[in-house]
C-alpha cells in the first residue's frame, strides 16, 4: 500500500519551504513511503486511553519573575544578518503571486 505520493511531497515541501528537484521529490516519496510503511507497526498496539508523553519528565513549567534584562546591542543583533538596513533586517518583498 502506498502511503504518500508525489503531490503530497510537493505540498509538504511547500509547507516546509524547501525547493526540491523532481528527482529529489521522487526519491523522497519512495523513501518516505517505506518509512511510513515501517511505522505502521505501531498500529499493532491499542493505545486507546493512553496519555501521550510529550515530555519525559513530568513537571509543570517553571516561571520567571517579570524582570527585564538589558536588550542585546542592536549592532550585535543584526551582525549575522545576510542583509540589513539601519538596525532592521532586510528581506525580499512578497510577490503577489506567492501564496503565504
Amino acid at each position: 500500500m502506498s502511503h504518500i505520493n508525489r503531490s503530497q511531497i510537493d505540498r509538504v515541501a511547500e509547507l516546509a519551504r524547501l525547493s526540491l528537484s523532481d528527482e529529489e521529490a521522487d526519491r523522497l516519496s519512495i523513501e518516505l513511503d517505506s518509512f511510513l510503511g515501517y511505522v505502521e507497526t505501531l498500529n499493532e498496539l491499542n493505545t486507546e486511553g493512553i496519555v501521550p508523553t510529550s515530555h519525559p519528565i513530568p513537571l509543570s513549567t517553571p516561571m520567571r519573575d517579570d524582570l527585564p534584562e538589558p536588550p542585546i546591542d542592536p549592532e550585535l543583533a543584526i551582525r549575522n544578518a545576510p542583509e540589513s538596513a539601519g538596525s532592521a533586517f532586510v528581506v525580499p518583498k512578497v510577490i503577489d503571486s506567492e501564496s503565504l
Partner: protein, 488 residues
C-alpha cells in the same frame, strides 16, 4: 611527558607536579588535532589562539595557587552544535555559514568557569541527524581504529577526538544514541545523562524533548568528572531539573556488592545483532557478577516499537526546530531568489543537506492536517508505553545492561543508500531518550579489531549507578586502556 591518550587524571597529576604546564598540554593537543585533520578529520574548527590565551591564564592561576576546579587547565573539545560567544557554530551545515554566536551555551560556560580549555569544535552529522558523521557539510570524520569505517554519530568528531588521543574529554549531544553509539564505535566512554540534567540552553535543537548534552572520556571516572561540572539546574531551560548533582566518584567503591543488574531479554534476541558483539557483552556481565553484582532477566516488551516512535517524534520536532533557519537573521541566504517565498525555499534547500531535508519533509508530513493523530499522537502514546516498560523493569533492578549497538563500526557508504537501515542501528539507544533515562557506553572488547560497546542504563536522575558499574568494570579490566594504534 607525552600528553597523547592521557586521561584527565594523568594530566592533572602532571600539572600538579609541575611536569607540564597548561600551555604545553594545550599546544600539544592542538598540534595533534591539526596533524590528524587529514586522516581523521575530527574537527570543524580549532580555537588555537583563544585556547593558548586561556591556557596562559590557567597557568597564571596555578602559579598563584588559585585552581578553579579539578578541570582547571584540562583541554576539552565541544561538538559544533553548542554555541560559544564570539565563535562560529555550524552544526556541520551550510545553512549556518558565517554565523558567530553572541552568547554561550550553559554547558560550555560551566566548562569555562571550571577553567577547562575549549580547544575546538568537533565534526558531526548535520544538525545531529545521523549515526555515522557522514552527513557533514564539511566531509566525514573517520574512525581512528580503521579509517575506512565511520566513527558512528552524530557526535562522531567528539568520539574520534578522544579515541585518537587528541583530547582527554569532549562534549557531545545525544538525541537517539548520538553519544553512546559513537563511543562504542570508537572504543571510549560516552554518557548521556538524564533528560533535563544538563541545560540545553545554547545547544542547537534537533528534537527538544529528546536532546541531551553529555560527555566522552577515556575512563568512567573522567566522564563523571566532566558531567559533574556541566550538570545542574539552569533557569534558562524550562526543562532543566532542579535537583542537586552528586559527587559521583564518592560511590565508586570498586565492588558491585548490593547492585542488581537487569538483562533485557528483547535486547539480546533482536534481529540482525552481531553474535560476537553479544558474546563480548555477555563476558562483561560475567565480570560484573564477579565484582559482586546480582543479575536478573527483565522484559521491555515495547522495544520493537521504539525506533518508529523515536523517528516520528524526533522528526516532527526537528521540522519545527529547523524553521528558524530561514536566511533572514543569520546564516546562508540564496543569492538567486525572486521574492520572499522563493528566498526561503532556495535558501533552505541550498543550506540543508539531503538527510536534513528528508527528515524535515517527514516531520512536516506527520504533523500536517489529518495525519497528526495517526502519527504524532500515536507515537507519543507509544512513548508512554516505552517509558512504563522501564519503570516496571527498574522495580526489580538498579540498572540495565545491553549492547550499545547491534554491530561494530560500519564502513562508509554501508547505510547511506537506505535511510531506514541507518535508523535501525539506533535500536539499543533510542529507547533511553524516549524514557529520558541516563545511559553510558563503555568499551568491553573488540570484534575483528574494532571496539565493542556495552551500555548501562539507569533510573531517572541516577547517573551514579551506571557510572559506578562502569568504573568497577574498568578497575577489573583493561579494555579501556587499548586505543587505536596501541599494541596488544
Amino acid at each position: 611527558m607525552s600528553t597523547a591518550f592521557a586521561t584527565i587524571d594523568e594530566l592533572r597529576t602532571a600539572l600538579d607536579s609541575g611536569k607540564s604546564s597548561v600551555v604545553e598540554i594545550v599546544t600539544d593537543c592542538i598540534e595533534r588535532a591539526e596533524a590528524s585533520q587529514d586522516s581523521i578529520h575530527a574537527f570543524i574548527g580549532l580555537r588555537a589562539a583563544g585556547a593558548i590565551d586561556d591556557a596562559k591564564r590557567a597557568d597564571a592561576r596555578r602559579a598563584s595557587g588559585e585552581v578553579l576546579s579539578p578541570l582547571d587547565g584540562i583541554p576539552v573539545a565541544i561538538k559544533d552544535n553548542m554555541v560559544q560567544a564570539g565563535e562560529p557554530t555550524t552544526c556541520a551545515s551550510r545553512i549556518l555559514e558565517g554565523f558567530v554566536s553572541p552568547y554561550t551555551a550553559t554547558a560550555v560556560e560551566r566548562l569555562e568557569r571550571a577553567g577547562a580549555i575549549i580547544i575546538g569544535r568537533t565534526n558531526m552529522d548535520e544538525f545531529a541527524m545521523g549515526s555515522s558523521t557522514e552527513h557533514s557539510h564539511f566531509g566525514p570524520t573517520r574512525n581512528p581504529w580503521d579509517l575506512t569505517r565511520t566513527p558512528g554519530g552524530s557526535s562522531g568528531g567528539s568520539a574520534a577526538a578522544v579515541a585518537a588521543g587528541i583530547v582527554p574529554a569532549a562534549l557531545g549531544s545525544d538525541t537517539g544514541g548520538s553519544i553512546r553509539q559513537p563511543a562504542a564505535f570508537c572504543g571510549v566512554v560516552g554518557m548521556k545523562p538524564t533528560y533535563g540534567r544538563v541545560s540545553r540552553w545554547g545547544l542547537v535543537a534537533f528534537a527538544s524533548s529528546l536532546d541531551q548534552i553529555g560527555a566522552f572520556a577515556r575512563t568512567a571516572r573522567d566522564c563523571a568528572e566532566v558531567i559533574e561540572v556541566i550538570a545542574g539546574h539552569d533557569h534558562r531551560d524550562s526543562t532543566s531539573i532542579p535537583a542537586p548533582v552528586p559527587h559521583y566518584a564518592e560511590s565508586f567503591h570498586g565492588d558491585l556488592n548490593g547492585v542488581t543488574l537487569g538483562i533485557p531479554t528483547e535486547y539480546f534476541e533482536a534481529e540482525g545483532v552481531d553474535s560476537d558483539v553479544l558474546e563480548s557483552v555477555r563476558a562483561a556481565i560475567g565480570q560484573f557478577e564477579k565484582a559482586g553484582a546480582k543479575t536478573v532477566e527483565v522484559s521491555l516488551p515495547h522495544t520493537r516499537y521504539a525506533i518508529a516512535t523515536y523517528y516520528l517524534i524526533a522528526n516532527a520536532e526537528a521540522s519545527s526546530n529547523l524553521a528558524r533557519f530561514d536566511g533572514v537573521r543569520y546564516g546562508h541566504r540564496s543569492r538567486d531568489a525572486n521574492g520572499l517565498t522563493q528566498m526561503y525555499r532556495k535558501t533552505r534547500s541550498e543550506g540543508f543537506g539531503t538527510e536534513v531535508q528528508r527528515r524535515i519533509v517527514l516531520g512536516t508530513y506527520v504533523l500536517s492536517a489529518g495525519y497528526y493523530d495517526a502519527y504524532y499522537r500515536k507515537a507519543q502514546q507509544v512513548r508512554t508505553l516505552v517509558r512504563s516498560d522501564f519503570e516496571r523493569a527498574f522495580e526489580t533492578c538498579d540498572a540495565l545492561v545491553t549492547p550499545t549497538s547491534p554491530e561494530v563500526a560500519f564502513a562508509f557508504g554501508d547505510k547511506t543508500d537506505d535511510p531506514l537501515t541507518m535508523y535501525l542501528s539506533d535500536i539499543y539507544t533510542a529507547s533511553a531518550n524516549l524514557a529520558g533515562i541516563p545511559g553510558v557506553s563503555i568499551p568491553c572488547g573488540r570484534v575483528g579489531g574494532l571496539p565493542v560497546g556495552l551500555q548501562l542504563l539507569g533510573k531517572p536522575l541516577d547517573e551514579t549507578t551506571p557510572l559506578r558499574v562502569a568504573d568497577a568494570y574498568q578497575r577489573a579490566t583493561d579494555h579501556h586502556l587499548h586505543h587505536a594504534g596501541s599494541s596488544e
